[in-house]
């Protein structure tokens, strides 16, 4: 077992009566991309601030690169790059100047700082805007500048708080590719916090789901999926025309079927059937069937046997989305997956 880069032990932070972070244990291995997932206000940022020694924990320890972050924040800050959410720059200075300033605060001599800044700007695709004032940068450009800013001190670990917030999908993709390349090619450990599941799903080696100050699940995607699938379940979605109550009954009669319900094809709601789905949906409705075993062939034959037309049939795998949803939807459902 390799020595973890970031190790949190029983970390607790309270604001008055409110517990922002509650007895958090977490260890992050070198070279991995770890995604800290959680809704707004879950305590992600507070946890990150404690890792950097910017906030003192009420109890517990945060060890980063083998250094106690609360006691020796300076040593931690030298080795860790942190990009806050909604990163800000000196607007009336150019991007290059901003980077050089950061570099010089890290005791990099000015000449070297300039070279490194230019190189990094090129790498994040901002070389054309290097001498433009940051005030004129777009959101995505700022975010990329933020990444360059984090990298200029040659950190061992980078912590990105909501790095994809407010940028367009293409920008997100570019940023994530950049982050992944950094991690793979230079062995950087990356911790990123987000509430954007899909993005995190794409690049994270492991994710931790963080709700109300508690880490309720950690693991890679497969592990989390398995945790969810222990109870059931096969889940199949069908697009079909000619939906009728009789068909519903017939489907329910199939062995091991637990639940049959209409659903919106966009899967925004977690399985509850909207009353007007068939009326508004136009050509066909989407039916979700949950069963204890794989009954896909029976479903297909039942549907066809009732004279309905089957447009689509697909097994539903648990994505991070569902995992996320399951964990967040309330106390009892969380106990279920435990």
């Amino acid at each position: 077992m390799v020595e973890p880069v970031i190790e949190l032990a029983q970390l607790t932070k309270k604001y008055g009566d409110f517990t922002a972070v509650n007895k958090l244990d977490l260890s992050i291995r070198p070279g991995e991309i770890f995604g800290l997932l959680g809704p707004n206000g879950a305590g992600k940022t507070t946890t990150i601030l404690m890792m950097l020694g910017l906030t003192e924990p009420d109890s517990g320890t945060a060890t980063v690169c083998g250094v106690d972050a609360t006691r020796n924040p300076m040593q931690v800050k030298r080795r860790v790059g942190y990009m806050p959410d909604d990163v800000g720059f000196y607007e009336d200075r150019s991007g290059l100047d901003n980077l050089i300033y950061t570099a010089r605060l890290n005791l990099i001599p000015e000449k070297e700082a300039r070279e490194r800044a230019l190189e990094l700007l090129k790498r994040v695709g901002l070389e054309a805007a290097a001498h433009k004032k940051v005030g004129a940068y777009s959101r995505g450009m700022r975010q990329r500048l933020g990444l360059a800013d984090v990298l200029i001190k040659k950190p061992e670990v980078i912590i990105l708080d909501e790095p994809t917030l407010g940028i367009d999908p293409e920008g997100v993709r570019e940023l994530l590719v950049l982050i992944r390349d950094l991690s793979r090619n230079e062995g950087l450990t990356v911790l990123l916090s987000s509430h954007h599941l899909h993005q995190v799903q794409q690049i994270c080696d492991r994710v931790g789901i963080f709700v109300r100050g508690q880490l309720i699940a950690v693991g890679d995607l497969d592990e989390l999926t398995r945790q969810l699938e222990t109870k059931a379940n096969y889940k199949v979605e069908m697009d079909l025309a000619g939906w009728s109550p009789e068909l519903e009954e017939a489907l329910k009669r199939i062995d091991t079927v637990i639940e049959v319900g209409l659903t919106e094809s966009d899967a925004l709601t977690g399985g509850a059937a909207p009353a007007n789905a068939s009326a508004a949906g136009g050509k066909y409705v989407t039916v979700r069937v949950i069963s204890g075993s794989d009954v896909t062939p029976q479903l297909a034959s039942t549907v066809v046997g009732h004279g309905a037309s089957l447009y689509g049939l697909r097994p539903v795998r648990y994505g991070l989305d569902d995992i996320y949803h399951r964990y967040f939807e309330g106390g009892e459902s969380r106990e279920r997956v435990d």
């Binding site: 910017l54 800050k77 909604d86 800000g88 300033y101 950061t102 010089r104 605060l105 005791l107 001599p109």
Partner: protein, 358 residues
Amino acid sequence: MSAWIEKLRTSWTGLLRSRSDGRSPAKAETQSGSRTLSPFWVMVQKEFGDHIRSWRFIILLSIVTLACIGSIYAAVTALKNGTNSANNSNNSSIGETFLFLRMFTESDGSLPNFLTFLSFLAPLIGIALGFDAVNSERNKGTLSRLMSQPIYRDDFLVAKFVAGLLLIAVVIFSLGFLVMGMGLFTIGFPPTPEEFWRVFVALVITTIYVGMWLNLSIFFSVRFRQSATSALSGIAVWIFFLVFYGMIVNLIGNLTLPGDLTDSKAYIDQQNNLLLLSRLSPAYLFQEAASTLLLPDVRTLNPFITQDQAYLAVNAPLSFGQSLLLIWPQVTAIVAETALVFAASYVTFMRQEIRSRS
């Protein structure tokens, strides 16, 4: 407190060393380069640059410069119209001896003199340079980014103050010397070394005084999240001390006037208390200190309470050393007030949690 002084010292010696023999400063660990400034001085440099480039500073500077030119014009006209104006008719010898100093204190009545202008406008420079020092960084989201760099938290605050103070010193001294030069040019009367040192020390005291206002506005900028609130509070305090404080002290004076005016002991006690109250105001302290330096015939800062005192007082200017001795408590008090305000902002800042834009 001693911790950051120590740190200041190491960074200062580090700076000196890096300047003198090209070795890296004490804190610079094993960085390859030779001329790495400590982060503290990098911040000071950056703040200083920001101030100089800002519109706010240019506007302020032009206001103050105009005021100074106006006052010097008024002073020169007054001097030309006759050296024996009303306020020094009783001791014309002093007027002639310290002709050069009178440029700073004389006026033909159309405009206030240089000293009045300075004591009125200088706090404004301090407030303007400091009111958004911390909260603007917080609102722009640069504070949390900065704090995640390997810098000490107090260095950030001290850097803000030092950069502002340096700039204030540059402005005050250039204005002072500008006035001296222009005076030299127009009246053609060279200053004696004593006069020069008197002006010089007066400028140093002005710098300290403005530094106090700078500190106060930095305190407000730490305390209040909105820069408008902090600017308004700074200006409110400024106006309070400049306008209302004297009135309030007068009011208290009238209320506490002893019933029996022949009881000289009670009367003197009451006057002393009032003076003490006035001297809580930094503006009053500065006024006393600066006028003592620029008007050598001020022999005491306590008013004559009895006829005898006024009658028996020696009527001759003080030497420079004696004037300095006279204002020493005032200067100490201003420095102490500065330190108090700084301590307040330091404590407030160290206790705050730094989050992005919140």
